[in-house]
Amino acid sequence: MGMDCNIFQMYLLGIIGKFNVMGAKIVSNNGRKALHGVHAPHFKNTTNMVPEVMPVPEKVYISLHQHMGAPCEPLVKKGDSVKVGQLIGDTTAFMSAKTHSSVSGTVEAITTMTTSMGGTDQYIVIKTDGLQEVSEEVKPPVVSNYPEFLEAVKNSGLVGLGGAGFPTFVKFNLKDLNMVDTLVINAAECEPYITTDYRTCMDKTKELLAGARAIAKYLELKDIYIGIEDNKPEAIKMLEKETANDPAFHIVSLKASYPKGAEKVIVYECTGRIIKEGQLPFQAGCIVSNVTSVAFLGEYLETGMPLVTRTLTIDGSAIADPKNVIAPIGTPFADIVEFCGGYKEEPVKMLMGGPMMGITIYSDDLPMVKNNNAMLAFGAAQAKVYEETACIRCGRCVRACPMSLMPAAIETAYKLKKEDDLKALKVNLCIECGCCSYVCPAHRPLVVTNKMAKRMIAPKK
């Protein structure tokens, strides 16, 4: 009977528009309603695989543009010998991130290659010597105040490791520290397959907490929220235990559904604050950082070793031996796959990142970059292309959208080139998570249309 009452109450709430009956449920995240999302299969096959350090490849291809913003200029030239952690790319532009060598060896060339996004970038090709000699430049930073902390973050070359690639130093650079009071650490890891953030929680707990405390200290933040999906109960339990005596920390168990790790979603579900249209998290008083970024920072402040390696989940039906791999930045995917036992079937599609938002690569010769948290290789069956059919107005896209947009209506408005309608439908709020495309029974590429519609109404430059 109690159960019936609950369903009835939920239904009543649904009627008065508090929340959607099918798309969302009340969960334990401080009693707040959960935003919509989809229940994609988790495929977290590598959960219990402690990351393995792969051998140094023969050559690395280090991109000078592994971040949002301006690309770096090379600081080395052909024939130069370089060491691990040595600064090899920098720029005077504000919005950028420094580039360091991930190996010791000799610069073989500085070339231009086509990226997975279709553009071109400069790459420094380094022939490795296998010695992995550490550069003299690498020493622990001396940090005692906010400007020194910012300088250290800048020198670490850190970008958002969750996938966005936003230069961390830029995110931390605030005109007025009174604007922010809360750190939200994103450990949701809602993308299927990927387990690197989970491994960070389990294997780098100390560094994670040290990094979080350093950010909170120098940015003068009162509260630290760590949001984790409830499909990772060990991580939640362990972090709760480790932070039990520190009142600044709040471990938030998020109901596992994609995209809990989207910035606006995790800020809302951890703190109840809404990042409004056109705002950045700091305007809601929050600094949001990926958990692996925070742990890296904790480690960097200790050792001074800049961002030269990273952990990736290597998985997908075409990979013989899926695992978590620690690889030097710039390692070609082909080398990483070889470390994972090679291909067990012909790869048809390969992704940087997860299956919901990952970007396909056209060749496994491409190197991994700082913000690659996964590389997936799909065989023919997994890379299946569905035939697009007519919209049946089922409303599943509306119920799936975490931003409560109406993708089917946006599609109609886009096709009719109705810019005013697109503005009224707030397509600019689309976070491009792909839930609408994922659930569409007619297999319409709704998120692609959203992206194009956003471009259609964007202020013309």
Binding site: Y11, G14, G17, N20, V21, M22, L35, V38, A40, P41, S116, K264, Y268, I274, K276, E277, G278, Q279, A334, Y343, P347, V348, K349, M350, P355, M356, G358, T360, I361, Y362, S363, D364, Q382, A383, Y386, T389, A390, C391, I392, R393, C394, G395, R396, R399, C401, P402, M403, S404, L405, M406, A409, K426, G434, S437, V439, P441, A442, H443, V447, V448
Partner: protein, 308 residues
Amino acid sequence: MKSKLMVSPSPHIHDAVSTQSIMRDVLIALVPALIASVLIFGFRSLVLTAVCIASCMIFEYFTRKLLGKSNTVSDLSAAVTGMLLAFNLPVELPLWMAVVGCFFAIVIVKQLFGGIGQNFANPAIAARIFLLLSFSLPMTTWVQVNSVSGATPLAQMALARAGEMQTLPSYLEMFLGQRGGCLGETCALALIIGGIYLIAKKVITPTIPLAFIGGVAVLALLFGEDPLYHIMGGGCLIGAFFMATDYTTSPVTEKGKVIFGLGCAALTMIIRIFGSYPEGVSYAILLMNIICPLIDRATKSKPFGGVM
């Protein structure tokens, strides 16, 4: 080295649900009512249903072919229309009339307006009304299935309202479908099982059925009539679970669905109580279908964090 890999925009995985799987679920949900109709009305209800499904699919196939469009017969939506239309016919209706109804549903109402997702009215409902207006007598000729009468309970209630003495079937007979009516609409038990299946499989949300049935119950009480007869009588249950929930002709947002369901209930009861015709579900749904775009416009979802 692997080059020339497939490149495509994200997402790279997809939910197992497709238009075809949704329509298949609707067909499955209608099976209990089909079994009930065979038990109540006999083998001919199976024949009528098969003829309707087959002719709807054939009309769908040839219309698409004639129009030079991609063939949508495999999405099973035409089969759903056929099954629903059959369920809205009296069991003794001549088969050729049923085929005419299928033609109207698929060719006129569905395909001439652009096919699946584009029709302004539910094809099965529109075809039922078309048949009712064209062949009034055979469309209202009911076979006697219980000890009481061959007339439908709603017709009896209308007569009772006019002062005639009537013996209505019992609640149990109503619940099990032992009453006069269209072949798929009488068994409340089977329709509720089907409706629960659709909700459990997330094919429909419970909003429209609850608003529709709840609205009918409340209005029946207000008019001083027995709400259970109004819910189990006529096409209320099949309408609420299977016809009013048609995606194309019902609102997209939950708020819109509440308005839609309540509107269906209100029109149904107004027609039943004040109209000259004892049953109002079909007309109610048809009228609400037509104003659905207006409801949609008034009940857009509110974007998260949106600034107007």
